[in-house]
């Protein structure tokens, strides 16, 4: 099965709390901001690919 093509995954910090708040990534060619919420299909697929060892999420700067 063809899966989402995810590149440039990187955490973004909430400037108020200082905690990771979202992930910026390019998915199927579209730049997106993805919430850290299970049930969001982009987040679920990112975590699946991370667990499979095929994707790494860069830490926020």
């Amino acid at each position: 099965m063809d899966e989402m093509i995810i590149t440039n995954a990187k955490y973004r910090i909430d400037v108020i709390s200082g905690d990771n708040a979202s992930i910026n990534a390019t998915i199927d060619g579209v730049e997106m901001s993805i919430p850290l919420v299970e049930g969001n299909r982009h987040y679920d697929e990112i975590m699946r690919q991370v667990d499979a060892g095929t994707l790494t999420i860069a830490e926020a700067e």
Partner: protein, 369 residues
Amino acid sequence: MSRSKITSSSIQDGTLTEADWGGNQLSHRNLIINGDMRIAQRGTSYTINSPSSGVRVADRWNWQFFGTHTGSNWVTLTQETDAPDGFSHSSKITTNVAQTGVNGDWLSYALEAQDTLPLKDGVGQKDFTVSFWVKSNVTGNMTVAFENVNYSYSTYVTIQTADTWEYKTATFPATTLATGVDYTLNTSNSSVKFGLRSSGSWLVDVDDQWNDRSTNRGILSSQQTNFMSAINNYVSITGVQLEVGSVATPFEHRSYGEELARCQRYYHRNDNVIGGKSIGSGFFYNSTVGFTHYDFPVEMRTAPSKSFSGLSDFRVLYGTGVKTATDSETISGRNGARLGWTVSGATTGQGFMVDCNNSTGWIAFDAEL
């Protein structure tokens, strides 16, 4: 069994009861959203030039292409105004490069689990019927399949005349295999698929029976015709209805506004058809970051992903001038989002608004299944 027509003779005692119309509800019986393909928030045309997890033109419908494909720009997906009587739009796929390799290609509609509750029958599932209009320049067989996390059922309909709208129905029998389905979830537990072509592992072992997906992962009928075998082949579809019972009733038309709102639970796009349209107002948190809020038109299925046309399409308007954001961030919930805008030289606490500075800017939120 539902009835397509209620007559005086079908009302046994002079009182209209649920049994008189076969147990199916009279309104909102169609479990498919945007079955008539009128809503297309993402645009009306898209050409596929690379593998992906699927492409959406008409809202809620996902054209999926699995396996190796020949050439580039294989197909173009469009929303069309060609439609049978009683409908205004259809969804069309046109082949740009003939496809003959090992693939599984189909049109898919994912149902939200809690919206499939009408199908529940004890620990199993009631019978239901899928009806639709289809048109193609190719005659042959099209798979109609229902897929769940633990079982699937595949059958097919036959397109008999080229370039002619034809009405098709497929009934799926009740099953006791649908155990373990959680009808309270906002995630997907099932989908309906219409085949474009299939070969290899995408073929189901046996048509016209419920198959255990743990041992049979195929979904498309062995009778499936390759509708993408030549350039300019096309398949158009509209008027899709999925309803409880073994009889297809006339398509349930809903208002445009109601259907749009239903679609916006899964995807919302704010197009700036005229420059200057505001997308939010807020304040500068410090000298480099300002926040605006964005309310969604309806509560979305889950916290959505955000995308937009690009920072250059937006401007930050404040008391004494205009700033250009160099970065943005988003924290979204189901009802709205906080958008952060990175600027320079801002005054903490000062108010501002963000609008589009041209006619092509857009911002979108995606909570699709």
